[in-house]
């Protein structure tokens, strides 16, 4: 590890500013480091005139104003770019289609891959910028030979490398994450924002999916996919309840199943499988959620060559822990075996592989193999 872009020559940097505290501080740090920074807020709502109200999420008028205010305080030019059409096509429609197919997508990864470090980055490069800067907690490390590696943030508790695991080397070469290399708690970031006179210092964090304002994912999907009543069955195939759309469920989900008959052993039941073909949701005991292996498709590598078979650590969701795996690339498909079974793995989710703190790459989970039954 030698230096990071943060410490090298001054760059022309386009800072993506959501209106939140992290991206504002990131832009401020980039400017302070001597880079020539321009702020940009991405308008991602299809209809700017009916921007949702409320301060959470990334596409409200309020967020746009907060971002502009921050840019003014930092003293950098600021623009709003309308990427709503690209966002709808590449993120929202994909999100709906994935759920419709019985999978559980992560739209934030998708947005980083297709919007922030594709549509936005391409436009930035065309306009003469060198890099896109965001408030993600992750580190880009430049090696002696000039190649780039993505690493976890110094502060593991804040690390967001999982949602960046889709970036390839070219995208990494133009990424700047000024928050990634400092051991900074969120309180300290807020204190830094306060010290810099940024009014977003006290703004609440956003956690939800930015295009689902009220957090009601099932309602959002129901509006787009309509109601499709079907059966909830147990592992033997016996009907134990009904649902209004298989897309409304996630593997591992326990709440909201509304099953009339209790399980024979009286223990809680979880969603084990979602089958869009026959519109059936299968439920069963927690033990049946244990997954021993999986296959994942559409691998993307955060460095040069695809991995050799070997032992890695894996992360399966944005705020999930690490687990040890053996992984091998076979005919373009990633085959993964868990050292210890893991619970609640859903097709559609991303698996991100790490070698120590280094992000090796990511892939989209296609099939899972139960540890208990060894059956898909």
């Amino acid at each position: 590890m030698t230096d990071t872009p943060q410490r090298s020559r001054p760059l022309r940097v386009l800072a993506a500013m959501s209106g939140g505290v992290d991206s504002a501080v990131a832009a401020a740090r980039a400017a302070e480091a001597g880079h020539d920074v321009t702020g940009v807020h991405l308008a991602l709502s299809a209809n700017p005139q009916s921007f949702r109200t409320g301060a959470r999420g990334c596409c409200t008028i309020e967020d746009s104003r907060d971002a502009r205010r921050a840019a003014d305080v930092i003293g950098i030019p600021f623009y709003v770019w309308d990427l709503a059409e690209r966002f709808r096509e590449d993120v929202v429609e994909d999100f709906v289609a994935e759920y419709e197919a019985g999978r559980t997508p992560n739209p934030c990864l998708r947005c980083n891959e297709k919007i922030k470090f594709a549509a936005l980055l391409d436009k930035a490069l065309a306009l003469g910028f060198d890099a896109v800067c965001t408030g993600h907690y992750a580190q880009v490390v430049t090696l002696a030979d000039g190649s780039r590696e993505l690493h976890r943030a110094s502060d593991m508790a804040k690390d967001q490398s999982y949602v960046l695991g889709v970036l390839d080397e070219r995208q990494l070469a133009h990424a700047l994450f000024p928050l990634g290399d400092t051991l900074t708690t969120k309180d300290e970031i807020r204190a830094e924002a306060e010290r810099r006179g940024l009014a977003v210092a006290k703004k609440p964090d956003s956690h939800d999916i930015c295009f689902i304002a009220d957090g009601d994912t099932r309602g959002f999907l129901a509006d787009r996919l309509g109601r499709a009543e079907g059966d909830i069955v147990d592992e033997s195939g016996a009907v134990v309840g009904s649902h209004e759309g298989a897309y409304g469920f996630t593997i591992g989900q326990r709440k909201g199943l509304r099953i009339g008959t209790p399980a024979a052993d009286g223990k809680p039941r979880y969603v084990l499988d979602i089958s869009p073909v026959d519109n059936t949701v299968t439920v069963g005991p927690a033990a049946s959620l244990d997954v021993g292996a999986l296959t994942a498709v559409r691998p993307r590598w955060c460095g040069g060559a695809p991995i050799a078979p070997g032992t890695y650590t894996a992360q399966l969701r944005a705020h999930g822990g690490e687990t040890e795996v053996h992984a091998a690339l076979v005919d373009g498909t990633l085959e993964v075996t868990f050292t210890e079974p893991v619970r609640g793995v859903a097709p559609g989710q991303a698996i991100v592989l790490y070698d120590g703190t280094r992000v090796v790459g990511s892939a989209t989970i296609a099939t899972t193999v139960r540890a208990a039954t060894a059956d898909v």
Partner: protein, 387 residues
């Protein structure tokens, strides 16, 4: 730095700054009867007389407002209400699709909330309303027209509209015509009496005066229903304590704008022409917007095919050239200009616009800066494409 956004706001004239600051330290409500009040009132009334002279109006025809937007709202809503009060059949409002949003949105609001039937007159590809179009619209039923409102000069593409001829047509039918003259004042001869208009909007900060002050020129036979009710100032049409320093400063700027107009138009027109030539030389396929003949001398509006106006703005801004895409934005998101769409411009093409507007501080160096920067900027913006 090259400031080429004078149509957004132009630097205050030193004389106007002096008038403003000179009055800031003086106490007095122009409605008070005591000496301080009398002093303030004298300042206001002398300023009103100055403005009247600059605008070819009687002093009593100057209704001071907080600016162009308020004057437009007062004219459009106030005249609609008073004309409809006098005859409930008068619910039709005639306007043009190239108006500033202060008129456009007020007119639309009447349609949505006050039962108005809004009719947009056709414009040609340069954004001009033809008097015959107004005649046809009124003649269809002269009795149901509440008012007509058509701008004197367009703020985006700089086209000058035939206000005098339009006013003649309106007068034939006894229909009051309002014109937003915010961009026209100081660039073309603006004579309220000669125009035949019932009402006309002007704004101080576009002619070197301060922000937050403007006027509705209002023929004495017209009494619009107030938008702001209160103490009864300004002919009971616009209540509110007058901003004496701003009024004094507006008068100075307005007088100078009228006095210097002829020479200003000549000189700035020549500078504008050299800017147009420079842009066309650097970018041969740039399209000059607006009417080729009937246009404001300080306006140069271009469409650059294949470019996002916002991208050009960013690239020029980074080189210290300040201009505008010319179109309104919603939450900062650039929308294709309603003016360009109304003139039949392709929506994709309409996204690639830039408006350079010159003013009293513009120099040949500003033109040279644009000449140097515009070619590479367009090349870059084209590579970035339309998102």
């Amino acid at each position: 730095m090259a400031y080429l956004d004078h149509a957004a706001t132009t630097p205050m004239l030193p004389e106007a700054v002096e008038a403003l600051t000179a009055h800031l330290g003086t106490t007095g409500n122009a409605s008070s009867l005591h000496a301080s009040g009398r002093g303030a009132r004298r300042t206001v009334e002398e300023s009103r007389e100055t403005l009247a002279e600059a605008l070819g109006a009687r002093p009593s025809e100057i209704v001071l407002t907080s600016g162009g937007t308020e004057a437009d709202n007062l004219a459009v809503k106030g005249l609609y209400w008073s004309r409809r009060d006098a005859d409930p059949a008068r619910v039709r409002v005639l306007s043009s699709p190239v108006e500033h949003h202060a008129v456009l949105d007020a007119v639309d609001w009447l349609g949505e909330h006050e039962g108005a039937t809004v009719e947009y007159l056709p414009v040609d590809r340069h954004g001009r309303v033809h008097p015959e179009a107004l005649r046809e619209a009124i003649a269809r039923n002269p009795d149901d027209v509440a008012l007509a409102t058509v701008m004197w000069a367009n703020n985006e593409i700089g086209t000058i509209l035939p206000v005098r001829e339009l006013a003649d047509v309106a007068a034939e039918f006894g229909v009051p015509l309002h014109a937003d003259a915010v961009q026209a004042f100081g660039q073309v001869p603006v004579d309220f009496a000669a125009s035949g208009l019932a009402a006309m909007t002007v704004s101080a900060h576009k002619v070197g005066g301060p922000y937050g002050i403007g006027a509705l020129l209002l023929g004495r036979e017209h009494t619009p229903v107030p938008v702001l009710h209160g103490g009864g100032q300004e002919r009971h049409v616009r209540s509110g304590t007058l901003d004496v320093p701003a009024v004094a400063s507006f008068a100075v700027a307005g007088r100078l704008a009228a006095e210097r107009r002829d020479r200003f138009a000549h000189e700035i027109g020549a500078l504008r022409d050299s800017l147009v030539t420079a842009v066309r030389t650097a970018v041969p396929d740039a399209i000059l917007g607006g009417d080729p003949v009937h246009r404001l001398p300080a306006n140069a509006h271009f469409t650059f095919p294949g470019c996002e106006g916002d991208s050009l703005l960013l690239l020029l801004d980074a080189q210290g050239i300040e201009c505008s895409t010319g179109s309104a934005c919603t939450a900062g998101v650039a929308q294709p200009s309603h003016v360009l769409l109304a003139t039949g411009t392709d929506p994709d093409l309409a996204r690639g616009t830039l408006r350079f507007s010159l003013g009293h501080t513009s120099t040949q160096a500003d033109v040279e800066a644009v000449a140097k920067a515009i070619g590479p900027a367009v090349e870059r913006a084209r590579a970035a494409g339309l998102s």
